[in-house]
Structure formats: C-alpha cells, structure tokens
C-alpha cells in the first residue's frame, strides 16, 4: 500500500484516459474519416482527458501526504492524558510524539513504554491505516471523476487544443515560480538570520571594524574568546584576491578572445576553443589542490630566493589560480561580444585602408567594450563568490594588509569556517556567517545587475 504504487496507478489511469478521450472524440465526430469536423485533433481530446484524470488526483495526493502526519499527530496528542504533556517543553513533546510513532512502527524506543503510550501508538497505527485507505479511495475517485468529467465534456465543438495549451501554460508558470520562490526563500532566510546578528552586533562595528576574531565564549569561565566582528579585513582580503584574479584573467582572457575571434584560422579555433573551455569544467576543488600544493610553494620558493618573506598561504597564490579559473569565463563572454560586432564594421574599416590590428584596436574593441565590461563584471562577481580555491590556498588569518605575499582571508572562507563543525545556531559567531553571506549576496547581485544592464544596452545598439 505504498503511495508510489498509487502514483503508478494514477499514471496508468492517465494513459487510459488519454486513449478513452481520444477514442471518444473520434466516435463523437462520426468515425476516423470525419476527424475534420472536430475542433481539435483527437490527440488533444486525449490529453485533455489525461490531464483531468491526473492533475486533481496528484494534487490531492500531494496535499494529503504533506498534511497527513500533522493531522494524525494532533489527533493522537488530543487523546493523550493531560498529565503526560504537562510541563513538557516543545522539544520534549516532539520526542514523545516520535517515540509513539516509533512504537507504532515497531522501531526502537528511547524509553520504557507506558500503557498510555502503547494506547496512543495503537491509535496512531490505526489512524495511519485509515488515512492511507482514505487517501487511496480519494485519489482514485478524483482520477476516475476527472476522467468521467472529461468524457462528458468531449464533444466535437469543444476547444480541446486551447484548453490543453492553457493548462500547460499554468504548469509552466507553476514551475517557474518554484524557482523564483526558492530564490526568495533563500534570500529571506539569510536576511532574517542577519537581522538577528545585527541585533547583537551593531552594523557599524561589522562593516567598519578592523578586527575579526569570531570565537565567542561558550561557557562563562572561558577566557580569550571575546568575539570581534569587524569584517573589514575580510572585505579587503576578498578584494585583493579578486583583484589579483582579474589582473590574470582579464588580459589573458581578452587577448585569447581577440585571437580566437579575429585571427585564428577555423582549424585552430575548432580545437583551441574547446580546450580553453575545458578550464571552465575543472572542479574548483582541483584548482584548490593546484593552488595549495603547487602554486603556493612555488611562489614561496621564488620569493625566498629573492629574499622576500612569503607566507605559505599567500593571497597571490590564491588569486593567480582563481584568475586561471576565470580565464574561460572572460574569454568566452568577450568572444561572444566581439563576434557580435557586425562584419560591416570590419568591412568599413578595411575599406578605408586600415590593417587588421588597427581595425581591432580602433573599431572592434571600442564597439565591443560595453559587452566586454559587462563580461568582466560577471567574472568579478564570480571571483568574489569563489570559495574552494581560497579555502585551500588563502588561509584563515584575518590580516588587514595590502601585501599580496601575506596570508589573507576572504568572506567566503570565513563563512565556511564559521559554519563547519559542531555549531550552536543562536550564537553571534554562527549568525555572523549569515551577515557575511548577505553582504556577499548583495554585492554580487549588484554586480550582476549592472553587468547585465550594460550587456543588454550594448545588444540593442546593433539591432
């Protein structure tokens, strides 16, 4: 009596409804030869019947599954003797309910079962049984009812095609709103946690404080962990790593985009472009290894040979590797906008006696510049949000420094450290992660909006 069986049965009924609806339409038209008297193709009548058989039944099933447990628990709790629930915290009530459920399903129970609990468990099992049967009956009734409804309405003049199409439109709307609502949910949850954080720590301290030491005391007698939440070192660290990354990615990406789109013969482009894009497919964890195990020691050796003091986890190493990661991003976005510059611009320039490089420097790049800037801004927001490389290569020390050879930490690294391991979810330390996340989100969102705006404006220019 599993609900997946029910789902399969409903799907079976849907296909049955499809055939029945289709058949009915053909019959009502007066046979296969007179299909042209139908408003829509017979398939649409079939789909119409199938949708009527499926959608209400599946909706009912979804709602039932979502609320069944809560309703049953309420019913069982109402029958428990008042003395059992008296003086219990909500958590303890939850535990008790869990035990009753476990008892009902025959699983291990955390305490010795009292007769009251046994009775409640029996009731719970009985109610569950009834609920399952009721759901089966209800769902099947909905499916058959829907089918009958569609059957009754299938007449040659019914506009089955229009109806099916509007149902599909509703389905599309529902699915796209799921994506939007999820985003909204994430933003709101981060926002509320951040507000809780800002009730404890003033935003002024957070945004302008220069000391970051998020360890708070767990016990009253703990020393040396006062908690300081000045996020400026994180912001500067993030900026430095991102700036180094962009210094690597923008020139290399742009130059390779220019070569690939303007100079490369088709044969070279056909293998060079996919090879470059392989870089985008390398998991960031692998870049992290590369940064921590190869690049960082190399820079340290190099620095030491020149008499410089280089931290073993330097901003430079993380930034360089992050830059490499972003190259394909910059190059493929720039290549797109360079290719979007109409051939007429090139022809116009060549016809005036310009060489290829003059044409690129004076016509194509200026024309593509807004798009390139948009692409670079998207890459910046990618760099700011990048986590894995900096976790592995940039370090944890929140140094407020302008020296790229020093170890710095970034917003994302701190979020990871604050939230990994065993945490209490109501301390300022944990909630600081949400505030950092919100800041990150706002910054990258702003960058994305600006970048998309620029890119869109540029597109309009040639249409």
């Amino acid at each position: 009596m599993h609900s997946s069986t029910l789902l399969i049965i409903v799907l079976g009924l849907m296909s049955l409804a499809y055939y029945v609806g289709r058949k009915r339409a053909i019959v009502s038209a007066g046979g296969a030869g007179r299909i042209s008297t139908l408003h829509s193709l017979p398939t649409y009548y079939g789909l119409y019947a199938a949708l009527w058989a499926g959608i209400p039944a599946i909706l009912l099933m979804a709602l039932w599954t979502a609320f069944q447990d809560e309703i049953l628990v309420t019913l069982v709790k109402a029958e428990l003797p008042g003395s059992m629930l008296e003086g219990l915290s909500p958590g303890a009530v939850g535990l008790l309910v869990n035990d009753i459920k476990n008892l009902a399903s025959g699983a291990i129970v955390s305490r010795v079962a009292t007769p009251e609990m046994q009775a409640a468990a029996d009731r719970f099992a009985l109610f569950s049984q009834i609920a399952v049967w009721a759901m089966w009956l209800g769902v099947l009734a909905f499916a058959l009812g829907g089918m009958a409804f569609a059957w009754a309405r299938t007449k040659p003049q019914m506009r089955a095609r229009n109806r099916v199409e509007s149902i599909f439109m509703v389905i599309l709307v529902v699915f796209s709103s799921i994506a939007i609502l999820t985003t909204l949910g994430i933003v709101l949850s981060v926002l509320f946690e951040s507000l809780r954080f800002f009730q404890e720590i003033s935003p002024l301290d957070f945004f302008f404080g220069t000391l970051w030491s998020p360890q708070t005391a767990l016990r009253a007698d703990q020393v040396g962990a006062t908690g300081a939440f000045g996020a400026v070192p994180l912001f500067t660290g993030t900026l430095m790593v991102s700036a180094i990354a962009m210094l690597v990615a923008v020139p290399i990406g742009l130059m390779s985009a220019i070569y690939l789109s303007e100079y490369a013969p088709r044969r070279v482009r056909s293998w060079a472009k996919p090879t470059l894009e392989v870089l985008a497919g390398v998991p960031t964890v692998v870049y992290g290894f590369f940064a921590a195990l190869t690049v960082a020691p190399f820079i340290r050796e190099l620095g030491m040979s020149m008499g410089l003091d280089v931290a073993s986890e330097s901003a430079l190493a993380a930034g360089l590797v992050m830059g490499v990661m972003i190259i394909p991003f910059v190059s493929s976005l720039s290549e797109d906008v360079i290719n979007a510059v109409p051939q007429a611009m090139r022809d116009g320039s060549y016809a005036l006696g310009a060489t290829q490089s003059e044409t690129i420097r004076r016509v194509i790049i200026p024309a593509a510049l807004p798009g390139i800037v948009g692409g670079v801004l998207l890459a910046v927001s990618r760099a700011i949000g990048e986590t894995m490389i900096v976790v592995m290569a940039a370090g944890l020390a929140a140094n407020l420094t302008a020296n790229p050879l020093d170890s710095v930490t970034t917003v994302t690294v701190q979020i990871v450290t604050l939230l990994t391991g065993d945490q209490e979810f109501d301390s300022a330390k944990t909630m600081a992660a949400f505030a950092l996340g919100l800041t990150l989100f706002v910054v990258t969102l702003a960058l994305n909006v600006i970048a998309l705006q620029i890119v869109r404006k540029y597109r309009e220019q040639y249409e």
Binding site: R346, D347, G348, S349, Y350, L352, G353, A354, R362, P366
Partner: protein, 287 residues
C-alpha cells in the same frame, strides 16, 4: 598576371557549358570595354569561391571622372567584381582572383603590393550604411588618423569639414559633430560613410548598392552627390535600380551569371542594347 593555356582552356569550357544552359548567344562581351582615359584597367578577371567560379573572364576599364554602373540580376557577380577592385575579397576565405587589375598602371594583385594602402586609394561605400559606433567627427577622422594624413588638429578639422561638405552633410551636422554617427538617419549615415571614404582622398570610389537601404528622397540626394563627386573621382557603382544606373552613370556594364555581357555608353545600353540578354533584362523580361 599572365593567363596560362590551361586557364584559357578551362575558361572556354566554362563558357560553352554556360552557353548550353543559357541559350545560343555568345558570352563574349559586346561593346567596347575600354575607355579613353582609364584609371583602372581590368583584363580577363576570374574569381573563384572555392571551386565555384563567380566571375568569368571579365575585362572592363574605369575611366577618370566617370561613373560606371554595373547592373544585372542577383548573383550575377557584379558585387564580387566590385570587391576585386580594392581587394576586399581578400577577407573572404577561399576566394581566389586571377587575371590582371591595374590601378594607374600598377597591378593591384602584384605579390609585392600591400592591399592596405590600396584600399585608401580605392575607397568603398557599402549597401547598408555602416558608420562606426563613434562620433560623427571620429567617423570621418578615422581614415586620416590611421594614415597619418594630417599634422595638426587644425588640419584634421579642415579635412573633416571638407569631406563632410563634399558629401553634402556639413550643414546638417556641423553643430553636432560630437554626436554618435549611428544616431543619424539612414541617408545621412550613408553620406557620412561617403565623407569617411573621401577623407582619405581616394582616386576611385566603389559603391555597392549605396541606396538600396534608403528612401527615395535620401536616394535622390545621394545620386546628386555621386554626380558631383565625378568631378574629382572615378566611381564604380553596383545597383539594382536601372533608373538609377541610367541617371547617374556615363557607362553601363551588364553582368549575367558571372559574365560581362555588354558594356557601352549608358544611353546606348538602355535605348539600344546590342545583346539579347541585356535587352531582356532592361525591358523587364527577367531579373
């Protein structure tokens, strides 16, 4: 470039098969391809796109201070031929040109010749106005700047004013030279492109259907302009409008499927065509 025996044989072969397809008329050019005072001299020009031959043995002179119009149905090769005259076909992959094209006696397909300065001597105006996304001033200044034609800002200003005046655009744009060229109307944009071409002082101006994207009034202005420009430049214009060819040109060349069918004084070609294909085309029997 000398024509080899092989090429001659191949060309005759191509011609005879074309003859089979198009009737019994000979595809040898009717009329006089030469002119008294030639600036560009083209002889036996073949153009291949990969293995397809787009132009078959075309010979044509473009004289000083004259407008030569090239007419013919779509795909007849008139634009391809025009683009040979300043080596714009070089930018197309797999395009090959044989035969000889001379500008003032110099073979422009000579191996030692750099096509870049050539294009400053033989300017080109395109079908769709294509001003750069820069200001009006910068659009015209582009050519003089890359060729280093002027020594001072004042001199550059002068060149720009002169070019815009010759293109008949100065009075309309003199107060907004710093506005983007793309903000002008279609006809103004095309005149801006002409001004841009004039600014590098070419000898020959090629025009590839310069009015096909414009309304009748803008077209009339450009046609008038072409007539004025004739005083200083040689002009070769490709057009789909026979009236336009009749209005602006002194000589007309009729192309058909890659062959140059007939060349002659514009008047004669339109009133008394010698070749049946020309007559069919200009009387509107096809094309």
């Amino acid at each position: 470039m000398s024509t080899t025996v092989d090429e001659m044989a191949r060309r005759t072969g191509a011609m005879s098969s074309a003859e089979l397809a198009g009737g019994r008329e000979s595809r040898a050019t009717v009329g006089d391809v030469t002119c008294a005072n030639p600036r560009m001299v083209c002889r036996d020009v073949d153009v291949f796109y990969g293995s397809t031959q787009a132009i078959k043995g075309v010979s044509l002179d473009i004289g000083k201070n004259e407008v030569v119009s090239m007419i013919g149905p779509s795909g007849c090769g008139k634009s391809t031929f025009l683009r040979c005259l300043n080596r714009m076909n070089d930018t197309i992959d797999g395009c090959r040109v044989t035969g000889s094209i001379k500008l003032d006696g110099q073979d422009i397909y000579d191996k030692g010749l750099d096509p870049v300065p050539l294009r400053a001597q033989v300017g080109m105006v395109f079908q769709k106005p294509n001003p750069f996304p820069k200001s009006i001033y910068e659009n015209v200044a582009y050519g003089p700047r890359i060729h280093g034609l002027t020594n001072s800002k004042a001199e550059l200003d002068e060149v720009i004013e002169g070019s815009l005046q010759k293109a008949g655009l100065w009075n309309e744009v003199k107060d907004r030279l710093d506005k983007p060229g793309t903000g002008l109307s279609g006809g103004q944009q095309q005149r801006l492109c002409i001004a841009r071409t004039i600014a590098v002082s070419p000898e020959v101006i090629l025009m590839d259907e310069p009015c096909s994207a414009l309304d009748p009034i803008a077209t009339a202005i450009i046609e008038e302009l072409i007539d004025e420009l004739r005083a200083n430049y040689s002009i070769a214009i490709v057009t789909h409008s026979m009236q336009q060819a009749a209005r602006v040109s002194q000589r007309t060349a009729y192309f058909h499927l890659g062959d140059l069918i007939e060349v002659g004084e514009t008047n004669q070609v339109f009133t008394n065509p010698k070749h049946r294909l020309t007559e069919d085309y200009i009387t509107g029997r096809f094309g």
